[in-house]
């Protein structure tokens, strides 16, 4: 079987399995990918984070394409580091706020926010500005500081990460929206959509000790996939990532990438930092495992400049 053939087959199987496993809840999302949205990926440049999202989600047919009335939504930003928003180590709070507003407008019953922070979680939630922004928009900001909140899952098709403990809200909610921030990374070179999942699991150390790139790709096989990835490229840490040392490390790119395919999202994000996606192991591995598409040329991309 040729690689493309394998890719198509596994994607098809993945969709079928995903739809079946989520008991039909995702039917609309998958349907929207086929009919509702015209694009695989929407990239916006030149505006504020919230304005760019307004335009981007419109091109994908509106939030109603992803969230139905009465559904419970999980929005997972990157809230890893106890730093202020201008240092760009966490997702932009303005963007998080606007996504929540769109979800509630689309009829979401409840919107949740959490991240398994690296620094002390109370301080990180507060100083990142995300807790305040999310509460103002009407979301519930949930703790993720204790193993109590995590439940064992299995990823049978994984190579290294066959078991993990994930936050209960990922399992309980109907829709998962991934909202990473693009950053330079000292080890994996970039951190973005797929690597953002390290804040969903309890034991990150396992990933580091057991082939980090493979584990990142492995996790992306888990059945509960993001319905939408909104990649924040407004302020981007281009040096000393993923934490940054000073404001000097931040490049203001004023961009945003929206896609249902987190491999394609990571590939586009890598290009933003001037890195060929194939050079980043976990993106290539994920592509080869059929999780998504690294080949941006073959995608239908909408580019908007404000």
């Amino acid at each position: 079987m040729k690689r493309r053939g394998f890719f198509k087959t596994s994607l098809g199987a993945g969709i079928a399995a995903g739809a079946a496993l989520s008991l039909g809840r995702y039917n609309r999302v998958w349907a929207s990918n086929g009919t509702g949205a015209k694009y695989d990926l929407v990239a916006v440049m030149g505006g504020d984070p919230d304005e760019m999202f307004d335009l981007g989600i419109q091109e994908l047919g509106g939030m109603g394409n992803f969230v139905s009335k009465g559904q419970r939504v999980l929005i997972k930003p990157n809230i890893g580091w106890d730093v202020t928003p201008d240092l760009a180590a966490n997702t932009n709070p303005l963007l998080v706020k606007r996504i929540i507003e769109h979800c509630l407008k689309a009829g979401a019953r409840e919107v949740y926010i959490f991240d398994h922070t690296i620094d002390n979680w109370i301080n990180t939630y507060r100083n990142s500005g995300i807790e305040k922004a999310a509460k103002m928009a009407g979301a519930k900001v949930a703790p993720a500081n204790s193993e109590k909140y995590y439940h064992e899952i299995t990823i049978p098709t994984a190579v290294k990460l066959k078991n993990a403990k994930v936050h209960e809200l990922l399992l309980e909610t109907d829709v998962f929206i991934n909202v990473p921030v693009l950053k330079d990374h000292s080890s994996t070179r970039i951190t973005c959509a797929m690597k953002n999942a390290m804040g969903i699991v309890w034991n990150r150390g396992y990933w580091h000790a057991n082939n980090l790139h493979q584990c990142i790709a492995d996790y992306a096989l888990f059945k509960k996939k993001p319905a939408l990835n909104v990649i924040d490229c407004y302020n981007v840490i281009a040096k000393h990532g993923p934490q940054g040392v000073s404001k000097e490390d931040v490049v203001q790119m004023k961009s945003q990438i929206l896609t249902t395919d987190w491999v394609a999202g990571d590939a586009a994000a890598a290009r933003m930092l001037g890195i060929a996606p194939e050079k980043i192991d976990y993106i290539l591995i994920a592509h080869k495992m059929g999780i998504g598409n690294i080949k941006l040329e073959s995608l239908n991309i909408k580019r908007i400049k404000m």
Partner: protein, 519 residues
């Protein structure tokens, strides 16, 4: 001032003080502002003295206020301000409720030899051997450790129970908190004193305060000069003995109308209990009679003071020669020096000022401060030490330096703290995942706030850590994050004397703002 008002005042006041103290020692991390904690700690006797010796300023003059208070009113401190004393009153109350009919305190003779011996031992021992006896016997610190080690876990269990119930209703107002114990060896002394003070107060009232507590004994001496005291009116007294029965200090000899002022802690229970209103609290006047026994006590005290002065001289001579404590080689990494908390200045200064109250351990948001076992040597037992297997020091956090009541940890502004090197990073390449497993990791570099740990090209597309000790501040985030077991591939060795680190490398990244989408 004969009314029961004084007793009621004492109960309300001390209840507020006790709740505040329990709150600061058991608080849920960062809910409380450090400046409020300072007010509460200002009047704590021993911490205030240690801080005063250090900074020689009235900003640490709380103990002078306590001395003045004692000279005027007697041992009011023990019932109104000492958290250990108030805590024992609670136990005493519980004990009284359990054995209502059977408990009678009654008059007892003072444990003169024991209490003055302990006082002399603490003062002399501190000058000769360092903080060991203060750490052991400072009432504020005993209280702090009791809360930290034994009460806080109970509060956390309650919190988690409530958080679990709320969680079922999709409410996150309370959140689950991990109950993390300390090294079992650290529990020995706190447990001993918790049981000792608990049992003594349950059955014998304030016996601990009048037999062992060095602050109680010292303030007892001062209170012999106090202007206001509890007096008995011999004309009104019917010698019913009720006052003596309720006296937690067992210091009322009702037959002779004598009240041992050195043991009286001004709880005012006796005044409240007297049916004939024969007891009152007021100005003593000039009619005080000298008792015979005072003569021998005075000689003992004078002798003690001479002994103390003499010993203090020799103690100082020895102090200079004390070597920096070395950590014993029981730990996995080859650390030859423990890491002391930021603001400590140097390990020897720190060991000589810390009373091991545990407040910094309790407020540390990252659990990196742990009670030391033998890392600092015997004198540093229970003092906080940085344990990078339990946590790491948050780059922008200065909480422990802000709340230390003795100035063992001196206040640091965040900017100064970010340039204070408490230890240096050491990388063991042979332990590193990148070398042993030939896979990417970089957890250490990712965590490093100054990029003193950075990645350089290794085999193929792999990158491997490299260190720059000059900009390392010793926060230990690299050691904490390193996933290798049982030995870490990267660790921090303490600086015996804290140093200034160089500023991290700051320069523009090579990436520019894209004009158009690069895809």
């Amino acid at each position: 001032m004969t009314s029961a008002f004084l007793r009621r005042l004492r109960i309300v006041f001390s209840a507020v003080v006790l709740v505040c103290f329990i709150y600061i020692f058991a608080e849920f991390r960062t809910l409380i502002q450090p400046e409020y904690i300072k007010y509460l700690l200002y009047l704590q006797f021993i911490p205030s003295i240690i801080k005063f010796i250090d900074i020689k300023s009235l900003a640490a003059g709380g103990f002078l206020i306590v001395l003045l208070l004692t000279l005027v009113t007697g041992r009011t401190y023990c019932s109104f301000l000492c958290p250990l004393g108030i805590g024992q009153d609670v136990f005493s109350r519980i004990g009284g409720t359990i054995r209502k009919k059977f408990r009678r305190f009654g008059y007892k003779r003072p444990h003169t030899v024991v209490r003055y011996s302990v006082l002399v031992l603490v003062i002399a021992g501190t000058f000769i051997w360092g903080m060991y006896f203060i750490n052991l016997l400072d009432p504020y610190s005993i209280f702090g450790r009791s809360i930290l080690f034994f009460i806080k876990p109970v509060i956390l269990v309650l919190n988690n129970f409530l958080a679990g119930i709320l969680g079922r209703f999709d409410n996150y107002a309370l959140h689950h908190l991990e109950i993390k114990g300390y090294n079992l060896m650290a529990y020995a002394i706190p447990a001993g004193f918790f049981i000792l003070t608990g049992l003594l107060s349950l059955t014998k009232g304030r016996l601990y305060c009048n037999m062992i507590c060095p602050v109680g004994t010292f303030l007892g001496l001062v209170s012999r000069l106090s202007l206001f005291r509890i007096k008995a009116d011999e004309n009104k007294c019917t010698r019913c003995g009720r006052c003596s029965v309720v006296c937690k200090s067992s210091c009322i000899d009702f037959l002779n109308h004598e009240i041992d002022v050195s043991r009286c802690v001004n709880c005012f229970d006796c005044i409240y209990s007297c049916p004939d209103k024969a007891l009152s609290y007021g100005f003593i006047g000039n009619t005080r009679e000298e008792k015979k026994s005072d003569e021998s006590r005075r000689r003992f005290i004078a002798g003690s003071i001479m002994l103390f002065l003499g010993l203090s001289g020799s103690g100082r001579a020895q102090e200079r020669g004390i070597p920096v404590p070395r950590r014993e080689s029981t730990v996995k990494e080859e650390k030859n020096c423990p890491v002391s908390p930021p603001g400590a200045g140097s390990i020897s200064d720190f060991n000589n000022r810390c009373t091991a109250c545990g407040l910094c351990i309790s407020v540390c948001p990252n659990d990196v401060l742990q009670p030391a076992i033998m890392q600092y040597g015997l004198a540093g037992y229970m003092q906080p030490v940085m344990d990078y297997h339990k946590g790491f020091c948050q780059y922008n956090c200065t909480l422990c330096t802000e709340i230390c009541p003795t100035f063992a940890l001196k206040p640091l502004l965040p900017e100064a703290k970010k340039l204070t090197q408490i230890g240096k990073v050491i990388f063991i390449k042979d332990n590193c995942i990148v070398k042993t497993e030939k896979t990417a990791c970089g957890a250490c570099s990712e965590a490093c706030p100054t990029k003193a740990v950075f990645m350089i090209p290794y085999e193929g597309s792999l990158v491997i850590p490299e260190t720059n000790q000059e900009i390392c501040i010793g926060c230990g985030h690299c050691e904490f994050s390193c996933p290798t077991v049982p030995y870490k591939a990267i660790y921090v060795n303490g600086n015996p004397v804290h140093q200034a680190s160089k500023k991290p490398d700051i320069g523009k990244p090579g990436v520019s703002v894209p004009d158009d989408f690069p895809f």
